[in-house]
Amino acid sequence: MKKSVSIAAVVAAAVGLAAPASAFEPNRPVEFVVTAGPGGGTDIFARTIQAIIGKYELMKAPVVVTNKGSAGGAEGFVYTAGYKGDPCKLAFGTNNAYLLPVRAKVPYKSEDLTPVASLASDEFVLWVNGKADYATAADFVAKAKEGGLKIGGSQSKDADQILTSMINDAIGAKISYIPFKSGGEAAVQLAGEHLDANVNNPSENLGQWQAGMIKPLCVFKSAKFASDAKVAGDKAWSDIPTCKEAGIPIENYAMPRTVWLPAGVEHDVVQFYADVLRKVSETPEWEKYLADSSQSPGFVTGDELKAVIEKDGATVGEVLKREGWLAN
């Protein structure tokens, strides 16, 4: 029932859009700049949105997707920031949009981009090898305090290493961090028992979990996952305890999936894309995408989004400062 209502709403919205209601409407192809390589989480995020916009005709202008994922995504953000005031360039990323300029000397500042919306947040789970003898996060913490454990993750001084640093700080341990090119590599290294743990996003590790090669200990989220469908044997995502109750005092750590325009665009341009993306986030296809990749819904825009960015930037900035990773 609920689903059919939302479809009706979308159709109505699409029809409504056909009339010249909005002040701005792109009159040339819109470029979706993916700040990650083809096949990665951000790539699928952008291409799913492209497909939904196409299906419901939420925008008249055609969409072109380009991948500019070098330098941890900085390539795409620098490219987008370079088109100051251009209403037809949208950058797709994560929290790296505003964290990169803080931790590396990249040739753009976060003020060079205008936040449009955040459409979802990807969660972080603490995973260990399936044969590991710890059954709970508390066991892992006890082992970690003895020293010598290794966590692997994607990139350096990025989301995974920041979380590792937060874990170390929260439990008073010295787990070392090994950076890899992608979360997929870290997943295979864990399955091969070369690492003790990783903090991958759910979708990066689902395949190995199903095969029993690795197992989740806890999720860095204030409440458990909602989905109780059995995904791996008799286990569901909702069976994973939160890290806070399991013994690692970290309340909430998630990675927002964000969309950006260059600086200097008109307010109605931001409003237009925010409306389009809101409609995207209300489709059943979007719901399915979130469920398939075990991400949490949450459409945020405007001042609310600015507040979220500020809060996230402050939390992570503290970690960067403590570790001495600030670039400036």
Binding site: G37, I44, G54, T66, I178, F180, S203, L206, G207, Q208
Partner: protein
């Protein structure tokens, strides 16, 4: 033998006119993106990906994987005809393919390349069919020290390749390492060698370097030599294709060895580029008479092509079995799997055997289709060489520039291609080898990452490279390969001295 039964089921799923048509379409599109330098298989597959959203997963993967096969074949065409590698993995094919085409045997070179490529790919699929379970477990044994050992092995097998002075080789290789380190460093997360130039943060693309060094560099030389391609003399003879086909069995040893190298590099995701270089290096070193290498030796075409394709094919296995992509194209296809509602990973074999074995069956059929299609295009391609240089030259320049732009949609890359073109010209004139530079650019940053990850794991101790049987064996083979030229040199000089002592009368018998 259970796998063979499953494979036959797989054939049952894919044998329909609809799917065969998709294969032909996929292969044709693939050849097209492979031939155009810069576009390449990963870009081609990501362009096609949105079209597959509405297809059923089996049809979708058939279309995409056949495009991949087509692109792998197409990539070698321009390497042979114009010395411009369409794909990174076909650089090694230029070393002997282009000289052979230049000498008027373009059809022979193309046929050799296509057939050995097809054989390599089929060997890769047979391996996947028979050993899928075992290989997946083996790949899990690989961690950073093992990766470093594999890259080290690739360097070592290639080190003594050139006939040029070892110092020139060293200069070229070091330049390659320097270029590979431009951009963001994975281990520290900092930018290196970017000089605050925004265009440099994405690093120097390997494809840009290759298009400039080989393509533009070669064009400059040709212009200097009087505006003509020597390939003009080449007449297209259908009989040459036939004769080449009969010639192939003579290279069975090279093919067998290259297949093994390719499969090995494919499942330990070092990739097809490393495989083709390593296979070329090994073929050259193990040949009794290697004087023709670099001048159009057929083994110099067969070796890299076989390895390239067996690696490209085997690279799909880790993707299916572990959910980790072995190549850039495989990464895009893996994204596709998720969109089609499948989870890449070990359970795919049990949850969706129809999909997995349908894909494997389509690899057999797709590669056969691809070989037939590309061989049919040989006369067409070979006749391109008969077009006067004053017409084809500017077209090649235009293709290179548009290709350079397509790599990253960046205008600055076009200027970079020109820079590399001049560098390539200077290198040729001063007799510096290009191959070490290219190899260092491809594997340099991967080897560096693997080494530094190993050091982080071991806390700075080099003992990690001797910590288990696998890595020790790899390192031992690599060191043996690295030091063997030196050892041969020593033995040779000792023997020579002995001969001088034993036979002062001089019976004239040559030493060794």
């Amino acid at each position: 033998m259970e796998n063979i039964g499953l494979l036959i089921d797989g054939f049952g799923h894919i044998l329909s006119w609809n799917h065969i048509l998709l294969m032909v379409v996929g292969v044709t599109l693939g050849i097209l993106v492979g031939v155009l330098p810069g576009l390449g298989a990963p870009n081609g597959v990501s362009l096609l990906l949105p079209l597959t959203f509405s297809m059923d997963p089996i049809s979708a993967i058939i279309l995409l994987s056949c495009m991949y096969w087509g692109a792998l074949f197409g990539g070698s065409t321009t390497s042979i005809l114009f010395n411009i590698p369409g794909e990174p993995s076909s650089v090694a094919t230029t070393f002997d393919g282009y000289p052979m085409a230049k000498a008027g045997h373009a059809s022979r070179a193309l046929t050799l390349a296509f057939v050995s490529a097809g054989l390599g790919a089929l060997a890769g699929v047979v391996m996947i069919t028979l050993l899928s379970g075992w290989v997946a477990n083996f790949a899990l044994k690989f961690s950073s020290p093992e990766y470093f050992a594999v890259y080290f092995l690739a360097f070592a097998s290639f080190i003594s390749m050139g006939a040029q002075s070892p110092f020139k080789t060293l200069v070229s290789m070091m330049l390659g390492f320097a270029l590979a380190s431009v951009g963001m460093d994975t281990i520290s997360g900092n930018l290196r060698l970017t000089f605050d130039i925004p265009e440099l943060i994405k690093g120097v693309s390997f494809l840009i370097a290759v298009m400039g060094l080989f393509g533009i560099g070669e064009l400059l030389l040709t212009t200097e030599e009087g505006l003509r391609f020597e390939g003009i003399k080449a007449r297209v003879r259908l009989s040459e294709i036939g004769r080449t086909l009969i010639e192939i069995p003579r290279y069975w040893l090279t093919i067998a060895r290259s297949t093994i190298i390719g499969i090995w590099m494919g499942i330990t995701p070092a990739g097809p580029t490393a495989a083709s270089f390593m296979s070329y290096g090994v073929a050259r070193r193990s040949a009794r008479d290697n004087s023709m290498f670099g001048k159009g030796d057929p083994r110099g075409i067969v070796a890299p092509e076989t390895a390239d394709h067996s690696a490209g094919t085997s690279a799909l296995l880790p993707m299916l079995a572990l959910g980790v992509p072995g190549s850039a194209t495989a990464a895009v296809m893996m994204g596709g799997l998720m969109i089609w509602g499948l989870t890449p990973g070990p359970m795919l074999f049990t949850d969706r055997p129809d999909f997995v074995w349908g894909l494997i069956a389509s690899m057999y059929l797709g590669n056969v289709v691809a070989v037939f299609l590309v061989i049919a295009t040989v006369p067409l391609y070979a006749s391109i060489l008969r077009v006067p240089f004053s017409i084809i030259g500017p077209i090649i320049v235009a293709v290179i520039f548009s290709g350079a732009y397509q790599v990253a949609n960046s205008v600055s890359d076009i200027f970079m291609v020109i820079g590399f073109g001049l560098l390539g010209y200077v290198f040729k004139k001063l007799d510096y080898p290009l191959a070490p530079l290219v190899l260092a650019m491809v594997l340099g940053d991967k080897a560096e990452d693997a080494f530094r990850q190993s050091m982080l794991m071991s806390g700075g101790s080099l003992n990690i490279f001797w910590s288990n049987g696998l890595v020790s064996a790899l390192m031992a083979v690599a060191l043996a390969l690295l030091l063997s030229p030196l050892a041969f040199l020593l033995i040779g000089s000792v023997r020579k001295r002995k001969n001088e002592v034993v036979a002062p009368g001089g019976d004239g018998s040559p030493a060794g």
